[in-house]
Amino acid sequence: MTSPNSPNSSRRSFLKNTGQLLIGFNLLPLTFCQSKSEILDGGISSGSQVRSSMGSDIIDSWIRLDAEGKVTVLTGKMELGQGIRTALMQMAAEELDVNMDIVTIINGDTGQTADEGYTAGSGTIERSGASIRKAAAEAKFFMVNMASEKWDESPENLSVKNGLIQSKNGKHKISYWELLDGKFLEGKVTGNAPLKNPKDHTLVGKGILREDIRKMAQGEAFFVHDLRLPEMVHARVLRPPSYGSILIDLDKESVLALPGVLKLVVDGRFIAVIAKREYQAIKALEFLKSAAKWQTEPLSPQQADLFSEMKKKSLPPQQVEEAKHINTIIGNSPQILEATYLRPYQMHASAGPSCAVAEWKDGKLTVWTPTQGVYPLRSTLSDFLGIDTKDIRCIGLPGSGCYGHNGADDVSADAAFIARSFPGKPVRVQWMREDEHAWEPYGSAMLLKLKAGLDASGKITGWDCGIWSDTHSTRPGGKAGHFIAARHLEKPFEFQPGGFSGGSYRNSSPLYNIPSKNIVLHNYKGPLRTSALRGLGAYGNIFALESFMDELANLAAIDPFEFRIKNLDNPRAIEVIKTLKSKCNWENRDQSGRVGYGLAFAQYKNSASYFAVVAEIHKSPTGGKFRLHKLTGVIDSGQCINPDGLKNQTEGGMIQSASWTIMEAVQYDANGITSKDWNSYPIMRTNDVPEVEVHIIDRPKEKPLGAGEAAQGPVAAAIVNALSSLLDKRVYELPLKDYFV
């Protein structure tokens, strides 16, 4: 689409044809990158020029205006299905005063975008959004001042509409693009540019529809899985049967004789086959399975002994929050409660197995990847392959939803390693279903031990929490040992866990007003590979904390809403809970005994979105089992950028958490992981999903808060609380599948 604001065509062709200006002008790479489908057709490797980020403090790193009359937003964060592309474009268009239809966005690309680390922790809108918003405001400020000088008019007398600057007296007008005349916005983001008053927002706060959903609905190529480059070949990796398996023997010759097979890559116990066609690679993989002989080291402890071993074999405890004399404080309380909660290993279980494409050409590596962090991936590939980061470009493309650290980085490492042994041609690697299920790093099993005291009025006097957990982050932040491929080489890279992350105690500290809180973390190196799964430790911690709150409310004989409000002094938390109480029509709930209700609340990370939820469970007419009927949630994410996007994310989080909570636990035995497909690791399907309802408390004057993980923990506790109310007993262990239809 050509904007009426674009410079005239002769100017454009001049810019296009002038070498020097081309490098100085961002016309080609940006117009080129506007369409993902163009990239997916393979064009990006055609040598078009790409301009690197000049650092996070420069406007050009976030906002570019091209010669076609368009605006390109750049973000180091990835689109993972959260809808951040649309939300970030809204924020930029708002501050720049341009229409959405001339705005495009480029996500994570080490050749173009700023280094924003990982797309994680619900931080995109809070961080990338804030940077883009400031840069857009600065760009507008700069251009309005340029026009002001040009016309000798005060900036107050100028207004902007869809990128057209006009003087109020009607004498002058010029578009951003004409004004810039091919120049970059290389100025610093000084922070001096005023941000718009939220009451003047016309785009932020609107449920602008995600255009990428239109593309997907029409089957347009969109995912990294759909990337097709000229002469591309296909590879599959044969993983060992279990983490500790040793390769004893491999019949290489007969594999090489199979149709289409181009090469076998074997280094230690890393085995990959390259073939012309995808199906040929898959057939060769099937053959390899029988051609390889392994010796397997048994996994230990066995699943039945996991939690007792976890308590016995944890590392020396780490004090997270300290309250002296906590035992005395709780011990002196009129009422005391103690409970232990268990959460199993659970998986990301992405719908599409991880996929990446890599090309090694003239000593340089390009990787098209669904990673959550192109820069950390690049530095880790540099460590892995022993080449300089400047010789590696990681281009982020959408993958199947990952919900944390799934196989995306590992498959990128696989592709890079295989491509190096097969230079000159792009190599596409996609994991098989069992690779994703058995090799992704799971959300860690956790044991949570809580103890608290209540005073006579129902106020909590003291809180004592013990957490037992494996790490919740083993993302590859520069150390090759975090890649499966690197650990499997003849000369393996050692896995250096780099300390246990704070993810384990995320949300373990109650937001409630409790005078004494004591929290102790017991790190445990468990049998399975673990890393960040949506919410990290918050899922287990909130499940325990909010189950425990329900038990405390019962002990105090106070309504669960009232009990929480009584123990809170955070006004936004209280409002979320009160709003939920009226939205779910609590006072008129069914008290026949056939329906159970459970409430839970948390502010994610105690710093992001506030979320409260009620689960409604129905007793099945036959068989004494239950069905999750409905989830009603209320969320306060501060200033809401896109209400429909926020609802979509929250609904998704609610259903996903319901699936984890009711159905999911990774199974394994001595020989390895046994949850290898959707039958052995079932997740919730359409027939079982509850009705979901989400209400937003919009606070346009507050800063936007991360929302993508807010629902995970509270939904677990709400379901458990609802179930416990119907069972007349407490359930302490997830998943709940024995109780559900």
């Binding site: 959903i213 599409g352 959707w678 359409t686 999903v689 009705e691």
Partner: protein, 157 residues
């Protein structure tokens, strides 16, 4: 065994020389450049690879080419008529029925198959029709809404 097979894909006659054991999914993605159907499990458990075979939704990862000679295949790319998107494609966009979108193909193809047979399905019929397709983002409630919307619109048209 490599042989020539004829297929009618999105109303166009196509010929492929293929291993007769090769599932349709790979022919579509690699030879016909149709990327809508996705690999999800290769075992017919997840439905990411759904296509319409003679009007009925089927997982293409299990359909070996040897059994498909002269079959009539429709993929998500072939649903538009005279350049206008299928009403279900419109409805999926309108309801914003996707998060990551990987399962969208399977959901949409299953919905097309359902509405062909049953233009005004109940909610439980919609749920049953979409139950074969696995969604990990938790977008189910929107898929159901999108099918209802498309069904209502076609009733009122």
């Amino acid at each position: 065994m490599i042989e020539k097979i004829k297929l009618l894909i999105n109303d166009k006659k196509r010929e492929f020389e293929v291993d007769l054991e090769e599932p349709l999914l790979y022919i579509l993605r690699e030879d016909a450049n149709l990327y809508g159907p996705k690999y999800g499990c290769g075992m017919g458990q997840c439905g990411a690879c759904m296509v319409l075979v003679d009007g009925r939704a089927q997982p293409s990862c299990l359909l070996t080419c040897g059994n498909l000679h002269e079959a009539k295949i429709k993929t998500i790319e072939g649903l538009a008529k005279n350049g206008n998107p299928h009403p279900l494609q419109e409805a999926f966009f309108e309801v914003q029925a996707a998060q990551c979108g990987y399962c969208l193909n399977g959901m949409l193809i299953s919905a097309v198959s359902l509405l062909e047979e049953n233009p005004s399905p109940s909610i439980s019929e919609i749920k049953e029709a979409l139950n074969r397709v696995l969604c990990r983002c938790g977008t189910h409630s929107r898929f159901i809404k999108a099918v209802q919307l498309a069904s209502e619109k076609s009733q009122n048209a």
